[in-house]
């Protein structure tokens, strides 16, 4: 059985302990504030972006890229065109910090319902769908390479 990426499990374990909504919010804002570290560089893509990288379900206009590393892992990059898409930004940061530079099979095994562990079970259907779409898009990059 393929295990979850270690860093992702750490995040999930952290969030599982949070019962206070304000604490969860603050943690997610702190993560989102690191979005500049995962924003796609001009060497990878410039606007207007190729729609192949667009997350259709997310209404914050999220794009996902994966660059191949020499060791057969990926380096993820993102852009969120909605400047107020903080939740999407936080999701992107988590994905880069937990899925870049790790075996592809581990990325492929990530269940999309991690969104509810990270953002809480009360998120709206639309938001949940959008964030799961970001996870699926990142996974899709790994799956595509696993299929050869």
């Amino acid at each position: 059985m393929t295990t979850l990426p270690v860093k992702l499990q750490e995040y999930l374990d952290d969030f599982e302990t949070i019962t206070d909504r304000a604490e969860r919010t603050e943690y997610l804002i702190e993560i989102a504030n690191r979005f500049h570290t995962v924003r796609v560089p001009s060497t990878v893509a410039t606007q207007p972006y190729d729609l192949a990288h667009y997350v259709a379900e997310c209404e914050s206009d999220v794009y996902v890229w994966a660059v191949d590393n020499p060791d057969d892992t990926l380096k993820y990059y993102f852009d969120v065109l909605n400047p107020q898409g903080l939740s999407a930004m936080a999701m992107c940061v988590v994905l880069d910090e937990t899925c870049s530079h790790i075996p592809l099979a581990q990325i492929a095994s990530i269940p999309t319902d991690i969104v509810f562990t990270l953002f809480g079970k009360q998120i709206s259907m639309g938001k949940g769908r959008g964030l799961m779409g970001v996870v699926r898009k990142a996974q899709g990059e790994a799956l595509q390479r696993l299929k050869g």
């Binding site: 909504r21 304000a22 919010t25 603050e26 997610l28 804002i29 989102a32 259709a56 379900e57 209404e59 914050s60 909605n82 400047p83 107020q84 898409g85 903080l86 939740s87 936080a90 009360q122 998120i123 709206s124 259907m125 639309g126 938001k127 769908r129 779409g133 699926r136 899709g140």
Partner: protein, 286 residues
């Protein structure tokens, strides 16, 4: 950019500018309310003295798919420290999409002394105005609400079915791909929420964002009339029902048609496609 008063709206008093808000931050007769789709936004920084109304936590019944009841509304407004005479000024993200939704819910209880900040949160931020993480506290009040009356502004599925059967006007404010049902056919992306794709028969597809400029402000009455009446042939005198997926985007259009263009009778069908697309034996077009 023209002033709100110059744009020809039927009810220009339902909008306020960011300048007006800046001048009234400490006005005790108003309460600024932020309501967003993304719950991270308010705590990350908000207009000074603005309070938050969260759609999930504050406006929805926790069990039924319905809005809060009278007791809940009284408790909410008491917590916000307002009275029926307080002017409530709503704003939020996504061109005030969720703020319009909150404003519409407040109408169910007859609190119509409400306004939207033209341009919403984005415009305030882009103008470099102050944001604060400090959450204000106001003395709680005893708010006596009206009994909830959905009929003037809310449509239920039986209303929509009757409207369809009488060839009534409907506005589907979703994206063209949702309207056509195309989104349900993307094989790699299972679509939660509706078993069937398409739209309610006779509905015109006018995506909600077409009513706003790039900076989130509303287009002029002339531009909006050209869109809804000129291009799409809507009759302002005839009844209109707006809908989307859960009634949030369609609240924005409800606000436009009702207050900016002065349409005679506009209702929001909040069951929207998550209901209609799962109902047995209702007509659907693609």
């Amino acid at each position: 950019m023209s002033t709100i008063a110059e744009r020809g709206y039927a009810h220009p008093d339902k909008l306020v500018s960011t300048d007006w808000v800046a001048e009234n931050l400490n006005n005790p007769a108003i309460r600024i309310i932020e309501s967003n789709e993304d719950e991270l936004l308010y705590p990350s920084g908000h207009i000074p003295n603005a309070v938050e109304v969260d759609w999930t936590k504050d406006l929805n019944d926790p069990v039924r798919r319905d809005y809060l009841n009278k007791d809940g509304f009284e408790a909410l407004l008491g917590r916000l420290g307002v009275t029926p005479e307080t002017t409530l000024v709503f704003y939020g993200d996504k061109n005030n999409w969720w703020a319009a939704y909150a404003l519409w819910v407040f109408e169910l209880f007859g609190h119509t002394n409400t306004k939207l900040i033209d341009g919403g949160r984005l415009k305030w931020q882009q103008e470099g105005r102050e944001l604060t993480r400090e959450v204000p506290t106001f003395p709680p009040t005893v708010y006596t609400a009206n009994e909830r009356n959905d009929a003037p502004v809310r449509a239920f599925r039986q209303d929509v079915l009757a409207h369809v059967e009488s060839a009534g006007q409907l506005v589907d404010v979703r994206s063209p791909a949702e309207y056509s049902g195309e989104l349900l056919h993307m094989a790699n992306y299972p679509q939660e929420g509706a078993l069937r794709g398409g739209h309610i028969p006779n509905a015109k597809n006018i995506p909600w964002s077409k009513a706003a400029n790039g900076d989130g402000t509303f287009k002029t009455a002339e531009e909006l009339t050209a869109l809804y009446v000129g291009e799409q042939g809507l009759n302002p005198q005839a009844d209109v029902i707006t809908y989307c997926r859960i009634g949030e985007r369609s609240s924005h259009t409800w606000f436009v048609l009702n207050y900016l263009l002065g349409f005679n009778n506009v209702k929001n069908y909040d069951g929207s496609w998550t209901e209609w697309g799962n109902l047995v034996n209702v007509p659907i077009e693609k």
